[in-house]
Symmetry: C2
Subunit: 574 residues, 2 copies
């Protein structure tokens, strides 16, 4: 046995000895939550005891005293909450800033799929996120992005094959392979797709699913291939078909996609041990206004879910699914990730302890050290734009091009015919996607109808899933200027009018995340939205989020790609 391992065992031994000593009452605990009513996720009951903490673990439940004590009379203590599936990048802030935002909501663990940054930076993106989350008071676990690029039609910053992902499985915070969106590839037996599933199976890791409404033999095949969860269910029929076949169901309630109301009935009775909670995407405004997993539990209870079943979905069930045996319950030997709330109805988090250390209280996180990312990766993340200065000419077309018709409140589109030039009167705007990762100079041109802009342009480097620059403008000049500004910022959202940016959100980390605080990003984003609406953007759509989906060539009907307007029906360029 190596000296290193001997040291590890010796350290763990001393730790256990102290926990035992505290549990036995021979030594004072580090912390005692006195007289706490706590949710017992094993029995479904609320029980009352002192909760003694030592060495970051719950040492005992009973009658204890500690060097620090918190009177929890009349309060409820719950295990720390887990988000079973999120893309941290969707918060538009750096991971440490995300942590600061969610700690006051009792989030102890999030399982992230760094799909967005991997589309920009490939394995460097995964490495960046691993380093940027190391040691955070929110334990950030990873599922490796399975579908980069999301489609071969995309021009992303990287393509990740099984061989690229494999080395990450040995990282202690990598739990498996993230949402296998390419279920068509699975069912067809695609070599590259199956290699990723095979490698995850051999590493004894989990594979998450993403297969809305897949049923029958297709669902059998998808699950038999090793996909053990799904977070895309939008009705009970879809969910129960998957539960019956052994998938865990992640009930998703995020910013854009919200399935809780439809699926809340699962949080009573027989499926109570097989459901998890997740947000998938959580934007700055909804993080600030609603909170995080706490908000989902609160809403689930309001919808009639059994409180402890809802809490169990956010704790023990998630821990079991991901094989994180050290967390998810208020019980001896479990991590002292403890949330103090007022009651099940108002469900206000008053304090959150991470491994027995106060991490947040009364809505504010306590300070913590921000992880240091190695300079090479930081430099790389801050310089991901390979775009020369563009002119109006780059956005002019020689012949007619497809017009993508936007639909209020939807991200699907309609085929709105063809056009040769912008026509503000008919709400036909110039739109383009500018390849920005590899300096190819590709600019896909087309038109957008229904966006409503009357003058200027809107450009953003968040465009799913490859995060090229998508722009929509009243004129080619405005388009060029807005795109140039995005590139100059090394990424961001720009609202351009009359020769200047009237609003902008810098997103310099990979072109998709800001280095600023969540509050600042949210303010700038709201200001930019207001500026966009002031330019005439249709209030039935989100000026940036809806725009960002216009580049994703997997959703009907027409999309704009770096190679032009693409018809999803015919799988061909217009």
């Amino acid at each position: 046995m190596s000296e290193h391992k001997k040291d590890d065992i010796s350290r763990e031994l001393r730790r256990k000895r102290r926990v035992i000593s505290v549990a036995m009452g021979r030594e004072a605990a580090d912390l005692v939550l006195k007289n706490a009513s706590y949710a017992n996720v094993f029995t479904g009951e609320v029980l009352t005891a002192d909760i003694a903490v030592a060495e970051g673990l719950i040492a005992g439940l009973g009658s204890y005293s500690g060097r620090e004590e918190r009177d929890c009379t009349g309060k409820l203590v719950l295990p720390g909450f887990m988000d079973a599936h999120i893309h941290l990048e969707s918060s538009l802030v750096a991971p440490a800033e995300f942590a600061r935002a969610v700690l006051p909501h009792g989030t102890s663990t999030v399982v992230t799929d760094p799909h967005e940054i991997a589309n920009v930076m490939g394995t460097d993106g995964i490495a960046y996120m691993l380093q940027a989350t190391e040691g955070l008071p929110v334990d950030v676990r990873f599922m490796l992005p399975s579908c980069v690029p999301a489609t071969p039609l995309d021009e992303s910053g990287a393509a990740l094959e099984q061989e690229d992902l494999d080395g990450f499985y040995s990282h202690p915070r990598v739990q498996g392979l993230a949402e296998m969106m390419n279920f068509v590839g699975v069912l067809a037996g695609d070599e590259g797709v199956l290699a990723k599933l095979a490698a995850a199976s051999l590493a004894d890791k989990r594979t998450d699913g993403h297969a809305p409404d897949l049923a029958g033999n297709g669902l059998n095949a998808y699950i038999a291939a090793g996909v053990r969860s799904d977070h895309e269910c939008h009705d009970l029929q879809d969910a129960t078909a998957k539960l019956e076949r052994g998938q865990y169901i992640m009930i998703r309630e995020g910013t854009a996609a919200r399935n809780l109301e439809a699926l809340a009935p699962l949080l009573c009775g027989k499926y109570g041990g097989r459901c998890l909670l997740c947000t998938d995407d959580k934007h700055p405004g909804s993080l600030l206004e609603q909170g995080h997993i706490d908000a989902i539990i609160r809403q689930a209870i309001a919808l009639g879910a059994d409180p402890i079943t809802a809490i169990k979905a956010a704790t023990l069930n998630a821990a079991q699914y991901f094989g994180l045996h050290d967390r998810g319950a208020v019980a001896p030997g479990y991590l002292a990730d403890l949330v103090v709330i007022d009651n099940f109805q108002s469900f206000q988090v008053e304090a959150f302890y991470k491994k027995g250390i106060l991490a947040a209280e009364n809505g504010a996180a306590l300070p913590f050290p921000v992880p240091v990312v190695e300079p090479r990766l930081t430099e790389r993340a801050l310089h991901t734009f390979q775009v020369g200065t563009l002119t109006a000419q780059d956005f002019r077309s020689s012949g007619p091009q497809g017009v993508v018709g936007m639909v209020d409140g939807e991200i699907t589109t309609v085929d709105a015919g063809r056009a040769g030039a912008p026509d503000i009167a008919r709400d036909i705007l110039r739109a383009a996607v500018v390849e920005r990762h590899k300096g190819t100079g590709h600019i896909g041109l087309g038109f957008l109808q229904g966006y409503g802009l009357k003058s200027g342009a809107v450009a953003t480097s968040i465009s799913h899933d490859s995060h090229n620059i998508i722009v929509v403008g009243a004129s080619e000049e405005d388009c060029a200027a807005a795109v140039n500004r995005v590139a100059e910022l090394n990424g961001g959202i720009v609202v351009w009018k009359e020769g200047r940016p009237v609003a902008e959100v810098s997103l310099a980390i990979g072109g998709i995340m800001s280095s600023e605080s969540l509050e600042t990003v949210n303010e700038k984003l709201e200001a930019a939205k207001a500026a966009a609406y002031a330019l005439g953007v249709n209030r039935g759509i989100d000026p940036f989020m809806t725009l960002s989906f216009m580049a994703l060539p997997v959703i009907p009907t027409l999309r704009i790609t770096t190679r032009g307007v693409f018809d999803v029906r015919t799988q061909d360029y217009v």
Copy 2:
């Protein structure tokens, strides 16, 4: 990536591709259980479908055809059963023979603690059992024996420290650390004990418990130290205290210890996801007459347990506890370990498929290759006796010695005073424990009252937990002769009368297991029992099993050890 790993991934990829193809209906399945009503452990329902099997996995549930089909109309199909805790040695036969016995009962997986053979052969004993179980159609998983010797008072064949166990954690069939009987050592913070717990924790392995009636702070400490299960609960109060604190409860129903009747109420309702089934010890007669886990489920249902909850305890719950994500349910992607029974009430196993291959039908296992153990270990296992030829003089004492008073139907004893010589009229028999592992020549002498023997002697090399030779006889001459015969057999049970063995069971593998068939061993054992009773042995006790516990110096009141009669109350020799 190594070529080896590439090959593994490539093989797994091809396997997945075929499973997908079968699930999709593009290819015929290897096997289809047609029109099967199956227990869905996820939903608690009985559902009906064709179960398609490919590559040893369940490919799909629906409508399928296969190269082989079995009409299951009117039958019930269940996931293969798991015994969560057993000492395989207790069957008195070699592991392959045990497998042959339990396959017809639908046993797919057993988790064994090779505690008995490790007491004889140390790490060689663990290695022997790993090799002797490699590739068996019953998947034998291991928990590493945590308490060898069971007590420092014992003179066992080996002492296993953390360093000795550590290398085994990387074996693919080792799931963790077996029952930590030394809970006193845990609570006292004993260095050697905590080192074993620490190593198991660091290896991310499970630690099983063994702590009857431990409660309060002691229970907190024991669980906080990392012990996540218990199989010693004999009443609901003990079990619920442990369930509340997060332990999984293994409901034990073995040959000697039987807790099902007391604990069956746990198999309904809220604890249904946290209970497992186990036998702990299962002797030849009860294996042959009652069966295995199938018998426990049948009895649980008869006692009022919800059938699918009882089945879940024997399948999915056990798989979850041990981190065996590939089994425990009838669902796509799970191992095709499938039990066909008639109905929940009579619960007769008609067929058992292991990884989709018929392994047993109508009460008989199909032939399978017996694993080959390397010659060094086989030789070692067959020669574990270091005892010279003994004479009556070796069993005579110079002064008075303690008399161990046996109690009908119990393994506890009473202090029955002192004696200087056997006195058949008063049922005071010569008893001794002969150290047999290391040639120390230690012979602990004493007397036994309540055994009832009128002439001759009974000796056995099964004596808990060190498996020295324990003997009881009407005279010192008989004792010497019986012990010599046991040593000559390289282990076994001998009933000696008038200068010859009137019955014997050879147990040449480590002195604790036979190389013969279970039926033969059982016949010989029953014949030996009859012979012992014919010699006058008290019918209120088992002539061999009860005797084997007289050497275990942890149960009150008096015990016979290799160093003489020991008083458990005073922790001193009499």
